[in-house]
């Protein structure tokens, strides 16, 4: 095994858990990152940066509520821009987490074990950011609850045919289920932390959250069934959520929106950007907290492969979209596409193609998949590319639709940027707090993994 650790060439041949760990040592190593380990300088820097960005986020939101969405660059005809782009992007990122934790659980993929916890955390924080956006973009955000059915003096209900209402339900369900699923998985680990916490306040905190979990065989029995059921529910949910998000556009009649391939196209795109973000987080994470034994090159390689698959699906969607635009012989459709490629926003289209299609192809090479930092670079580019893709779909379709007399341009303002940067900051802040106070890897599952490896080795 010692020799194997040196080999980087064939990550796929590597185990999902390196080194020789016992129940105790693996528990201690993971628990100590939360309970004992002193604050890492990288963490401190990240915290400072993301905290200041979060402050910017709060300022931007306050100003937004005070003045109205007019502080953004949106106009007629482009009355949706950054907020909705951020929304779709963040929701998409969320998908990878659920996919890893739920879908791979059903498929009994052992490599999921060490990455599902932080992937789920990523999901929750991303969806939280996403959930903010539709509210921020409202003209009268203080009335957002009118999209939710409740008994009211006006005897009025939401308008169920609007995909925005479906969104409320989809996103709401998604975030609640994600939190439940995540929290459920955390309970045994919270118990571990409770039992190992040295300071009283930590012990109390973890004890409250652990709900008095006793590792009782009965608990475990119920737990395993319920957890499996949750996974079974989350899997179709995750597919449905981005399908519904895609309907926000597909239901509309705007050329570039009104397309039947959107649901699968968006789901693929979501996983694509999601895995990209998972890698963007995993690679620095394992480096900072020395988790290379748990999040091995094998994990990275597998994630890269999934990313490659999704990326190819997205590429295919691009092709189909272009083909249909011309095959349909619809004047507006074909103009829309030509406008994307050659219009005033052409640079966005070609950047998207570069990031999401060209750069992607490097993942065919094992050397790239084997090198964390090259993967990191690719992932970053894909994150950017996917954000721009959503921007292209929304803005570039809107700015020139049916009536040339109403054509216009969109120019972002400082506050557009501030909201985007702010949400990134808030996301990072939440994540950093998570890695500080909760185990980034499921200890109970790792213990199980240790046992399984013992059995397989003996």
């Amino acid at each position: 095994m010692a020799g194997q650790e040196q080999v980087l060439g064939a990550p796929s041949s590597q185990p999902v858990l390196r080194g020789s760990y016992t129940y105790a040592s693996i528990t201690d190593k993971i628990a100590d990152t939360v309970l004992e380990r002193p604050t890492h300088w990288a963490w401190a820097v990240g915290f400072a940066v993301s905290a200041s960005l979060t402050v910017l986020f709060i300022v931007a939101m306050s100003y937004l509520f005070a003045k109205g969405v007019g502080i953004w660059g949106i106009d007629q005809p482009v009355s949706w821009a950054f907020a909705l782009t951020n929304f779709v992007w963040w929701v998409g990122i969320g998908h990878a987490g659920t996919f890893i934790s739920a879908f791979l659980l059903l498929l009994r993929q052992r490599w999921r074990t060490s990455i599902n916890r932080f992937a789920e955390a990523m999901t929750i924080f991303a969806v939280a950011m996403a959930g903010l956006m539709p509210i921020l973009h409202l003209g009268r955000p203080w009335f957002f609850y009118w999209l939710i059915p409740y008994p009211n003096k006006m005897n009025l209900w939401p308008q169920w045919r609007s995909p925005l209402v479906w969104d409320i339900f989809a996103i709401g369900t998604y975030i609640i289920v994600s939190i439940l699923f995540w929290y459920m998985g955390l309970i045994p680990d919270l118990a571990t932390l409770r039992d190992r916490a040295a300071q009283r306040w930590k012990q109390v905190g973890y004890a409250l959250l652990a709900l008095g979990w006793r590792n009782d065989a009965r608990h475990w029995a119920r737990f395993e069934i319920a957890y499996l059921l949750m996974a079974g529910l989350a899997t179709p949910l995750v597919i449905s959520v981005h399908s519904v998000v895609s309907l926000d556009f597909a239901i509309g009649n705007t050329p570039g929106w009104h397309s039947t391939i959107f649901p699968p196209y968006f789901v693929a795109g979501a996983l694509y950007s999601g895995f990209a973000m998972a890698l963007t987080i995993a690679i620095p994470l394992r480096a900072t907290f020395g988790l290379q034994d748990f999040i091995t090159a094998r994990h990275l390689a597998v994630m890269a492969k999934v990313m490659l698959a999704c990326g190819l699906l997205v590429t295919y969607s691009y092709l189909v979209e272009s083909f249909m635009a011309f095959y349909s012989a619809d004047r507006y459709e074909s103009f829309m596409l030509l406008n994307r490629m050659t219009g005033p926003y052409a640079w966005i289209y070609w950047t998207v193609i570069f990031c999401n299609v060209i750069v992607l192809q490097t993942l065919w090479f094992e050397r790239v998949r084997a090198s964390p930092w090259m993967l990191f670079a690719v992932a970053i580019l894909i994150n950017i590319g996917m954000w721009l893709e959503r921007f292209m779909i929304i803005v570039v379709s809107l700015h020139r639709d049916f009536m040339p007399s109403a054509w216009g341009m969109f120019y972002p303002t400082f506050w557009d940027i501030a909201i985007l940067a702010g949400s990134l900051g808030a996301f990072a802040l939440l994540f950093l707090l998570f890695v500080r106070f909760l185990p980034v890897i499921s200890m109970s599952e790792m213990r199980k993994l240790v046992k399984e490896r013992r059995e397989s080795s003996s």
Partner: protein, 178 residues
């Protein structure tokens, strides 16, 4: 309140297999009020303990059904009966548009049901439990496996049970005080 001084006897084991074996023998010896503790779910342990199947799946199903049916009814009632409004000349009962919310809330209902059914079935939350009084029981969430025979078991007799557990050769044997 007058409690017996002791909750039960706790035997500590090093491996999961050992625990399962011990549980089997304990059951064979006729003990019923016993509990096993392990740092991760151990295969076969539940069967050894004779834990019956749980209601969680059924409750989940019901939750899903109620969520879905309830939602669809609300959509239909609100837009056909309560306040019919011509929106884009779509039929009042636009069932295709009603599918997504129905599905989402079905999932939500099921998920909530599953979670709370799990808590209920495992008797959680319960922040205070005598077993926590046992020495070194915290290792149950780390690397040790425990078997507890409770005093309320009819077969429980301090010395005999003590001897019996010894015969299972645990690493350690400790009383669990109230």
């Amino acid at each position: 309140m007058t409690q017996p001084a002791q909750y039960g006897l706790l035997a500590e084991f090093r491996s999961a297999e050992h625990l399962v074996e011990a549980v089997k023998r304990t059951r064979a010896a006729g003990y019923r009020d016993i509990a096993a503790y392990s740092p991760f779910p151990v295969e076969g342990l539940a069967d050894a303990l004779g834990i019956k199947r749980t209601c969680v799946p059924l409750v989940t199903l019901l939750g899903g059904l109620i969520g879905g049916a309830g939602t669809y009814f609300m959509l239909w009632y609100s837009s056909v009966i309560n306040y019919p409004i011509n929106s884009g000349a779509r039929p009042l009962h636009s069932w295709p548009a009603f599918v997504p919310p129905t599905f989402e809330l079905a999932v939500l209902g099921a998920a909530l049901a599953a979670f709370f059914a799990f808590l209920f079935a495992s008797g959680l939350p319960r922040l205070h439990h005598p077993i926590f009084n046992a020495r070194d029981f915290d290792l149950a969430s780390r690397n040790r496996f425990f078997l507890c025979i409770e005093c309320r078991d009819p077969h429980f007799d301090d010395s005999r049970t003590h001897d019996f557990l010894r015969s299972l050769d645990p690493m350690r044997l400790v009383p669990v005080p109230w």
